[in-house]
Symmetry: C2
Subunit: 574 residues, 2 copies
Amino acid sequence: MRASRFFISTLKEAPSDAEIVSHKLMMRAGMIKRLGSGIYTYMPMGLRVIRKVEAIVREEMNAAGAVELLMPLVQPAELWQETGRWDKMGPELLRLKDRHGREFAFQPTSEEVITDVVRSEIKSYRGLPINFYHIQTKFRDERRPRFGLMRGREFTMKDAYSFDRDVAGMQQSYQIMYDAYTRIFNRFGLKFRAVAADNGAIGGSGSHEFHVIASTGEDALVYCPTSDYAANMEAAEAPSLLASRAAPSQPLEKVSTPQMAKCEQVAEFLKLPLAQTVKSIALTVEKEEGAKEYWLLLIRGDHELNEVKVNKVEGLGAFRFSTEAEILEAYGTVPGYLGPVNTKLPVRVVADRTVANMADFVCGANDKDYHYLGANWGRDCAEPQVADLRNVVEGDASPDGQGVLAIERGIEVGHVFQLGTRYSQDMNCVYLDENQHPVPMQMGCYGIGITRILGAAIEQNFDDKGIIWPTSIAPFEIVLCPMGYDRSETVKAETDKLYEALLAAGVDAIVDDRGLRPGAMFADWELIGVPHRVVIGERGLKDGNLEYQGRRDAEAQQVPVAGMVSFIKDQLKR
Amino acid sequence: MRASRFFISTLKEAPSDAEIVSHKLMMRAGMIKRLGSGIYTYMPMGLRVIRKVEAIVREEMNAAGAVELLMPLVQPAELWQETGRWDKMGPELLRLKDRHGREFAFQPTSEEVITDVVRSEIKSYRGLPINFYHIQTKFRDERRPRFGLMRGREFTMKDAYSFDRDVAGMQQSYQIMYDAYTRIFNRFGLKFRAVAADNGAIGGSGSHEFHVIASTGEDALVYCPTSDYAANMEAAEAPSLLASRAAPSQPLEKVSTPQMAKCEQVAEFLKLPLAQTVKSIALTVEKEEGAKEYWLLLIRGDHELNEVKVNKVEGLGAFRFSTEAEILEAYGTVPGYLGPVNTKLPVRVVADRTVANMADFVCGANDKDYHYLGANWGRDCAEPQVADLRNVVEGDASPDGQGVLAIERGIEVGHVFQLGTRYSQDMNCVYLDENQHPVPMQMGCYGIGITRILGAAIEQNFDDKGIIWPTSIAPFEIVLCPMGYDRSETVKAETDKLYEALLAAGVDAIVDDRGLRPGAMFADWELIGVPHRVVIGERGLKDGNLEYQGRRDAEAQQVPVAGMVSFIKDQLKR
């Protein structure tokens, strides 16, 4: 490519609505252009990156035996009604009506459509397994779109759907996709981590998220540096930090803790470790005919509640936090002074695993400005129900017993999921087995946020000059910067010669023939993030040299003209 | 590709809603699958054709200096309001609202968005010319979607937009696109014709349609076999068939023509040539405050009215056909007996060029069941306004004076258009010229109906067995049909060897390893339309031969195993 035939548009300053690095840099590098809230035009420079990401995804999906098709964006409401998602999905689902008033969804994913395709196309066990995918525009009407391509409304996703005869087959299809994803993210040249994810109603270990590691990531990833264990915060099992419960050694004592509604304040005031305190969280579950059920969850004072884990406690699928009026009714006091001892009404108490093994703990006294010291299970209140309720923290024992947990930040860019018969049952997507019996197909679904990859790659790879693309997804692999392309015959000739040689060698090069001054030219390409650069100048050519610099290199190096192509091919391989 | 890893789904019968050949064959060949009215899933076999079409379009657009980007599907109403198209476009424009009630259009084309991009990105004459394109999903909410991909609602289009400093620049950009289109359609391997099209309000010769020639095409294409003249029916100028008007030789005579409302009936009854009769068409134009203006258009009895030409007559931009009540009011009679002589109210009479030169003609007498014989302009009624009102017919003189016109049928698959400042003025898309004066940019737009190409290619290339794809856009270039892949070691080995050799030679081959019987296997590939086939069988191998047959060949031919790859490469080049 020649820059004069391309479109390059860089900005010194990012627009004020760009909050995070990747959004700022993509705007400044002219990769995207905002059309509306969460809606972007992919400018030529950005589109090149998207196409490279798509090509890698496509190659690996095909190599893994998945078959590409393309499903429509505008999908009839009737299909979404078959699975109930038409009603269940909130305003994120963009709904529209055609000229005849018929209702449609703008696809956010395509489970319904692919299941409809498969139920009419595949009738026999002989047609299974099959895995269909497409790379297609999606729309999710986010309440608060932001961060550029990270949380846009219109975006591009690769979504694949596998169909199998049985659970074992589904798990095999799932593993094939897991392995393909690993190859894909490796080819992107990004540091990533696959973590076990919460699988909702389906259970089992049937869901993994693929995260690009970045300190700015929204998600906390839990992993064990000395084993294979990795999970997201919702799925990471928190162990009890106490192997067993000690016998009570203190009497129950009610102490004044004036205006100390937080465990930290109480611990400091009482000069006790925070780990001796228990935090009480009051929940309400609404039952039929206006009846309410009150629940009290207990976690150690230094821990954090994990609401997804709470959701999984039987009976808490539809919990909400109690109001102050409900707290007054159930506990006779105000928030900050609740506890499991002497509640006003009977409440269902669930203790986190660690809390369940605590003795002589500090908790609210259900009386404003008072806490109990020396509270003990069984003696001062009933034994609690026990559950994993908290976020793990660094240093917790790994659930596989192979070490302790560490935590890092990530950006979710892929998700593989064992769906089972969630969709095939609602939509009667069955095959006839060897005995001609109809059996619902076992499904899996597998997504990669194509456009999100760009944001994630930048969050992981940037410096104060701009983006640093991994070579495999860079808009161009290398930029040739001639010093005086329009002034020096020698420079022009050597530039063109090198450019042609690189093209012939299959290198994706761009020549900057715009006639910019060196400073502006270099700044553009450092901002855009092309990973390799060769400067062609008369001075170096006198010694038979060109100047090479990798985007991360502190210094340029002189490379003989004759060896440049093979030198570059070596650099590209690194 | 191996068929066992692909998805092939053929049908013996097309669904009943498929009316035309291409729709039937695409359904039967498993290329598309209906999701809703005018909305199709592109199945794996069809998607391969789409990708090949896209690749050719992309290569030639890039070679012509156009720059690819990708504009959003969901576009804010505000932009469409700037050009007035939000209100002007009817229900074809799919409108939608987001969760906040803001209005958007699902793009049918992207003039507004690209003009918005360019007005903020390009400020100076130095940035021009530029031509941006994208290949993107479109939605047009057709009142009556039909014919599969020919008239769908959701479809894929390549749309390009050029921006120039002045009209000469725009015309140059237009010519570059015209030439690129010619290369594109040549590479598709389709017989096509570029015809001048009606340019609406802009005038000049600034619009051409590219049609794939097919006897089933919706559009009539007019061309001169002995010159370069070609136009669509709306743009083809119809000459007067009479060089000058003869003097009146007959008196005006009112004759009884009972129940003969059609020229054909009158001519037969009076034993006169049809070319002596004149057809009268009554139009109404509604003026302000309920006033009506009556117009009478006259064409020769054997000619057809062209409504687009009528539209271009000054004052008839918003005509409609008169109602029977209006006809009674203006002419005092019923339809079928109208004429320019003795109308009840004064009406504006427009005669087609040929009619204007007729003498002693037959026309309605404005009296039920009566016609006039021997009517003459100037003598029996006032001289008419003259205009080109009719469709040309075969044998008409070519407007360039280089021969006579012929007519063939075509399917419109591309359109190039000089827009001028239609959009840039409404949207204030200006550049600063050398003197820092703001000048509106001169635009052009250029579309290719990517998915429509599939339908058009089939309408041009099929037989009773199925589709016959041109090699360049076939889903696979060649199919290898082993006779007993799973039974014969020799057949399997030779098949795999040939397949690998073809892949290495860059040939897009598929091996049918599904284990079908020969008849079913051949029928599938003839239906799907893969243009080249090699059969690998034990019988032929005994003599060292394989059997080659082109999709259009009546007979197969034996080709020695050793020479097969180069033989096939020769076939692919033809």
